[in-house]
Subunit: 263 residues, 4 copies
């Protein structure tokens, strides 16, 4: 399990989400409260959109709380759209190649959760990634595989459908060769224009997902756990796909169909 | 606060202390129970004595639980005398130069605790280190300063007295320029022949220190926290200096005298 | 291109090969003379056999010349059989997962050279790795793929044949989808009992390979470049597979057959 | 010896200096031509001024050529004033704390060269740093000591005089306790408004220093080595102190006076 936070809105310093709030992402790297692993110290990463179409990427394998580069960068860089992640490994190595967010072209992606029994079908998952995207397969995580599969399924034109199909393919592998619980996840991703987030599980234990519009900032934070207590965070229901565009938030049903995929 | 474990006796694989016990040092890096910081993920290190007079040293800035080098090394290397440490920084950087154990010549040293208000008199502490030893001042911790001062005070001929005098000098600085609590510490150190350990505090909250002879191993473990529950670990009293030599354990009073030093 | 050195014989400290000779492996990491890349600073690794069937593994992403852990470890650890490697990346990331030697069970493996156009058929190469070995696919290098394919082809019972078949499969992919030169390589590998080395290329530019028996050490070094000038190093011919067993050295023809594989 | 490059002018992406030119700083990390060490792979760092008074700082211990964070950051961040450095250690450890640029408050500083025999008087150098600045003494380099001494000597109000006095103090220590050549250096530093650079040596071998105004960029690069061949770079004479302010460049004599200091 990991923790993550994303933002869309008026440009703010990354630290306004990453380190300044009382229960900031860095605080969650030491003391997460709504997930099994209170410590999320197996690396961190940020992806932010600036002047270029492609996001900037910065990640490292230190605990987020002790990296001076992260502290300096988040104090200097201002962005209208960014993703930040702290990792608790579910088995794969602590390596920069396994740190979220992942990025391909304009797209960035980060994930919290697991595909059940993934190490039993990691090769099958890799085989689902088409040749054209395989150069972007840098690490060994289920998360990166999910992202590349979603790109292969058409993230560009149909974000929700592509992620549903990608999730369905991995869920199908988990049902066939893996173990229960088959899928428990939240994820956030972006093309640099909109921010998308999903909450989904094959059982009753979907990881938590919240968002909140801040009038003072003129932007919205989307998070694993509220950044401050006592604020009016909106909890997203399991099986939901959120599209954040400017001030708007649209919620759709997220329903992967693993049966059809397995056929 | 940090956690540490040391061993003297028949040669054993380092992993028999570092990773195999139920509450091994690596387990304590994630879930320490007898100190304020449950997570000790700001680096780790080991010093072990083999065929040479000088100890081997291995340290890194990753959390101990996720370093494959540490796992492999402790599974391969057997030693009759070694020190192992997991760090929770009390302020100085996560850097290999700040990882324990420290070593100079045949001596190795590791420490848990703090000298109160150390950042207000770090320069004074550095100034106490004589020229001849200053080349060994690689990092910025109070722990390394304490070790170098103890060497300067004659660790070679009088381990207990030298550490008392070194502690007294830093305690004096803390009383003069620092903050209470002035000293809370355990430490373990060795010249490759004997293993020494100390427990001391200027208030009633000395960090815990235990040891236990294992007949099956033919050796003794000296630790911050017992490596297994339900075993007959001996708690060392505050104000004690232990000398472990072969099967023997001698306990002396440890009483730094900061007044005389400050005079 | 990378540089490597291996040893079999009476136990010696690793530093006797890794850092002490005038043109030691660490010296070669800064100033290699017989390969295109004089600087081999994209990580290093060692695999050594001690008391256990499985080798110890130690690698990192720093240049070998500046890693104090490497210096200390090679000064302390003595071994009768070990492999050491300094890396110059041919494209894949500087990551511990991409550092040689690789190890699976009792086997260790390291490689110098390249499979031409590998990034065009990396997915195909991964697909050749059977499910049972895929958990050991940790990085993205052609070298690790070659090792896993050789294991799949029966390295255990037929070292030369298995490596020929594995090389043939990758050579076939290079001829089909990659680029010339298709294969240029040396490699060394071991099961903890014998040491094997190969020199092979599909053109006239096979990387260099030497070995030398040292009567004073009672052992043999097998290397990319001689460790000292003015010594009687034996150059291995291209298309050769060497088996080093105790004091003996047997040389066989190494002839992958990519045509048969492609059929 | 190290290599560095700095820039002042219209905001440009850092990569326009750091990685894009034919003989960019990253190229110099592998193939420097005007210094003794062609390879500068013992860490790197950048300091850039953006919206805040204090500069952003980013450094790491990998060779600059292989760090994806550096690549991404320099492609995203635009700055009107920045310093960039690649390091070749002259003895002190490869550690983030020893990477340039250093920063205190609004000031950043980087250095190339050496103070002769520094390891014989490192403690004396540290003792010259006043208490108020000692918290900023993070590493062990002569470079950081020079910077902190310059701050102590009044960098704020009198940049040239302060650096002359700081240099004189270290030069005095080198003459008294160190070794010839006593000082060979270039340095660049900034308060976020102006960029300063110095070239100085106590013998005839001052490291090289160049600058060039680019009309197309609307800014000036100040460098150890020209970033492109065939361009009209201006060589700075030894014993010069340059002040770059907007489009202007003023050159003054730089003349430390170690005699007076030693008195």
């Amino acid at each position: 399990m990991c923790r993550w936070a994303a933002y869309i809105g008026e440009p703010i310093f990354l630290e306004d989400i990453v380190s300044r709030p009382g229960h900031s992402l860095i605080h969650q790297s030491q003391c997460a409260t709504e997930c099994k692993s209170a410590t999320n110290a197996d690396g961190f990463g940020i992806a932010w959109y600036g002047e270029r179409a492609e996001p900037g990427l910065f990640c490292d394998i230190l605990p987020a709380w002790s990296d001076p580069n992260l502290k300096s960068l988040t104090a200097q860089v201002r962005s209208r759209l960014f993703l930040a992640h702290v990792r608790a490994s579910t088995g794969t190595a602590t390596s920069r190649n396994n740190c979220h967010p992942f990025a391909v072209g304009r797209w960035s992606f980060m994930h919290n959760g697991q595909i059940g029994g993934y190490d039993r079908f990691r090769r099958d998952a890799d085989m689902l990634i088409p040749d054209a995207l395989y150069a972007h397969r840098k690490g060994a995580t289920d998360s990166e595989a999910l992202f590349l599969l979603a790109l292969a399924e058409g993230l560009e034109g149909d974000p929700k459908g592509a992620l549903e199909r990608a999730t369905a393919r991995l869920e199908g592998l988990s049902r066939q060769k893996g173990a229960a619980p088959h899928v428990r996840m939240t994820a956030a991703f972006s093309d640099g224009a909109r921010l998308y987030a999903v909450r989904y599980a094959t059982d009753d234990h979907a990881p938590t997902l919240y968002h909140r519009w801040s009038a003072s900032r003129g932007g919205r934070a989307v998070v694993s756990e509220p950044l401050e207590s006592g604020e009016d965070w909106l909890a997203v229901s399991p099986g939901s796909f959120c599209t954040f565009d400017g001030t708007e938030c649209r919620v759709d049903t997220f329903r992967p169909n693993p049966v059809a995929v397995a056929a």
